[in-house]
């Protein structure tokens, strides 16, 4: 009876936490010949067929501060709602001409007010603009699964808790292109994949 209980417990853990129990880390470096645009590349696991991922209930946030969108690049899981804040003492607007994001225009609003938009379609790289200040720009990268990250200032990145298996790892950058790579994520440990960005 006791062994049956242990078995049931282990089976339960395996079902619930198989993803994290048998998950590895993907890390690497993004390089660009000019070494000026290593940051702000989105590295993500390409579509995982047959799997559906629930969007987070907590909204993501993009702020507008000192006439700049913060963050500049925001990857989200499809179905995520993004709250657009205005922390400036001037009016701001948020719109996107990209059809995959619904070609929305949230209007114009002042400090302290928040407007929201839900990004439904995956594989969408939506530019976010403010028609009051045309120099302002951000990108919402909408992805099919939650295994993504934005490269840091030195170009390094790390995606944790990727379920073990073979995947295609892709990279997206607002100006540059990189070649997808195949990775075999171990059940435990790390796999390395570097990217070279080119025009």
């Amino acid at each position: 009876m006791k062994s049956l209980g242990v078995f049931v417990f282990i089976f339960f853990l395996a079902q619930v936490n198989s993803a994290t129990l048998f998950a590895g880390t993907v890390r690497g470096k993004v390089k660009e010949p000019g070494a000026r645009k290593d940051a702000n590349a989105v590295i993500y696991v390409a579509d995982i067929p047959g799997k559906k991922f629930s969007p987070p209930s907590k909204h993501a946030i993009v702020d507008q501060k000192n006439l700049v969108f913060v963050p500049h690049i925001l990857p989200v899981l499809a179905g995520t709602t993004v709250d657009f804040h205005n922390s400036d003492d001037v009016l701001h607007n948020v719109f996107s001409p990209d059809a995959c994001a619904g070609s929305f225009d949230l209007g114009t609003w002042g400090k302290g007010e928040v407007r929201s938009h839900t990004f439904l379609k995956p594989d969408c790289f939506a530019v976010i603009l403010c028609n009051v200040h045309p120099e302002m720009e951000a990108y919402i990268v909408v992805l099919q699964n939650p295994y993504f990250v934005v490269s840091s200032a030195d170009g390094s990145y790390e995606i944790k808790d990727v379920p073990a298996g073979k995947y295609v790892l892709k990279i997206w950058h607002e100006d540059l292109k990189g070649t997808p790579v195949q990775v075999d994520v171990p059940k435990k440990g790390t796999v390395t994949a570097d990217f070279d960005l080119r025009k």
């Binding site: 006439l67 003492d89 001037v90 209007g107 002042g110 007010e113 009051v132 120099e135």
Partner: protein
């Protein structure tokens, strides 16, 4: 000067003197690292925010200028010196980088009234004016509530014209730009529009002189002092004393202007509740601004050997309506000149002039507009010497196209009937393609 010429050559662009200097200020764009479109709906025309920025002495609304400034200014004294005053100089600063902007304008003209038999007639199609000038504008703030403006035009013949040069002292009394002063050489603040901030410059009401003898215009640069301010966010006033027209003389010109804005962004640019739920555009500012002005002038006209005084008074008003992408505005002036005709001391004259203009933002970069102007006045018949009445009118259609936020191409023409020149029907005037670049 040599640097400017070299720069112009290096850019391989050829430009001409614009009909009127225009004012979009790339130095401000650099200061805040923001686009021209933050303040302009097709430069140099200001949107509601840009108008507030101008009224605030080239400062962001609500005391936030320092917050938005991204080019660190160079201190001319720490703010602690305020406490040490009068034993220390009041603190200030200068812009961190050069506050100079360059404006270059080029023009290609087609003249349908070309007369091949008249050697003085301009060519039917000409590039002739290209490469004749470049404008340099220095503008910015010297710390809190002290602003400056300077403007020079360098012509290809080597001549240098100095245009507006002034200082603005803001918030002298109270706060929120209640009482400010401007001193120097400037354009009197009489209207809610300006030919220098328009898609199609050259408004008769502000730019047309009464006659060759009486060359005064409202937008002639005036030397003097002006006080102005904003009361309760939507009411604005201005009053000034300026040198007036002609050689230096004892009597000065006086003027006053009041204006009120209904709806839209307040005149000081501080927005408290305004927001739009649906799609919006920065040039949407559903509002109506109305204004009244009075100007009393004392000019000196005539040749050096026989100066003659001409006192004149003009009263009028203007209205400026924004609705969606449309902007309908106009002005009217009624003027009386005591002695505007040289040698005819007993002859006075009345003038009534008005205009209406419709500007439409089809796209943020495609900006058509059309203006109608009328000028009803008196002139001296050269044959009989008697006064005769005349009415001139013109239609000014045009399209401004923004190729970039700081580069525009404007096509405009004039269809006019000038009774003062003996014309009896409307005729097409010069068609001009004007290129303007600000850097």
């Amino acid at each position: 000067m040599r640097f400017l010429i070299l720069l112009l050559t290096a850019l391989e662009v050829s430009f001409v003197v614009p009909t009127t200097p225009s004012y979009a200020i790339p130095a401000f764009a650099r200061k805040y690292k923001t686009s021209c479109a933050t303040c302009h709906t097709g430069f140099p025309k200001l949107n509601a925010f840009g108008e507030a920025y101008r009224r605030n002495g080239y400062q962001f609304p609500g005391g936030t200028d320092r917050e938005f400034t991204k080019e660190e200014p160079v201190s001319m004294g720490s703010k602690g010196n305020k406490e040490a005053f009068p034993d220390a100089i009041w603190p200030g600063s200068i812009p961190g980088t050069s506050p100079i902007s360059l404006m270059m304008n080029g023009e290609i003209d087609y003249n349908p009234r070309f007369d091949a038999d008249n050697p003085a007639s301009v060519s039917r199609f000409t590039f002739g004016g290209l490469g004749s000038s470049i404008e340099a504008i220095a503008a910015g703030t010297l710390g809190e509530d002290l602003s400056f403006w300077g403007h020079a035009i360098l012509n290809s013949d080597g001549s240098l014209e100095l245009n507006r040069i002034f200082l603005i002292f803001s918030n002298i009394l109270g706060s929120d730009f209640l009482f400010n002063a401007r001193v120097g050489v400037f354009e009197p603040d009489l209207f809610s529009f300006s030919t220098h901030r328009a898609w199609f410059e050259g408004y008769w009401i502000t730019m047309r002189p009464f006659s060759e003898d009486m060359g005064f215009t409202f937008e002639e640069i005036q030397k003097g002092l002006e006080v102005r301010g904003i009361v309760r966010k939507r009411f604005a006033y201005a009053a000034g004393i300026v040198e007036g027209f002609g050689p230096p003389h004892s009597n000065k010109d006086y003027y006053g202007h009041i204006t009120y804005k209904f709806g839209g962004m307040p005149l000081d640019g501080v927005v408290e509740e305004k927001s739009s739920a649906g799609p919006s555009r920065p040039y949407f500012d559903n509002s109506m601004t109305v204004g009244l002005f009075a100007y009393r002038g004392s000019s000196v006209i005539g040749p050096d050997s026989a100066y003659q005084s001409n006192d004149f008074t003009e009263v009028g008003g203007d209205a400026n309506v924004y609705y969606g992408p449309c902007n309908l505005f106009g002005g009217v002036g009624i003027r009386h000149d005591d002695r505007p005709f040289v040698g005819s001391l007993g002859s006075s004259a009345n003038t009534a002039d008005w205009f209406g203009e419709l500007d439409v933002v089809v796209f943020p970069w495609l900006l058509p507009g059309i203006r109608y102007e009328s000028w009803k006045s008196h002139m001296r018949d050269p044959a009989t010497g008697r006064l005769v009445a005349f009415t001139d009118n013109q239609i000014v259609p045009g399209i401004e196209t923004l190729l970039r936020a700081n580069l525009k191409a404007t096509i405009r023409t004039v269809i006019s009937k000038l009774e003062s020149k003996g014309e009896t029907k409307h005729r097409l005037g010069q068609v001009a393609l004007i290129l303007s670049l600000g850097i």
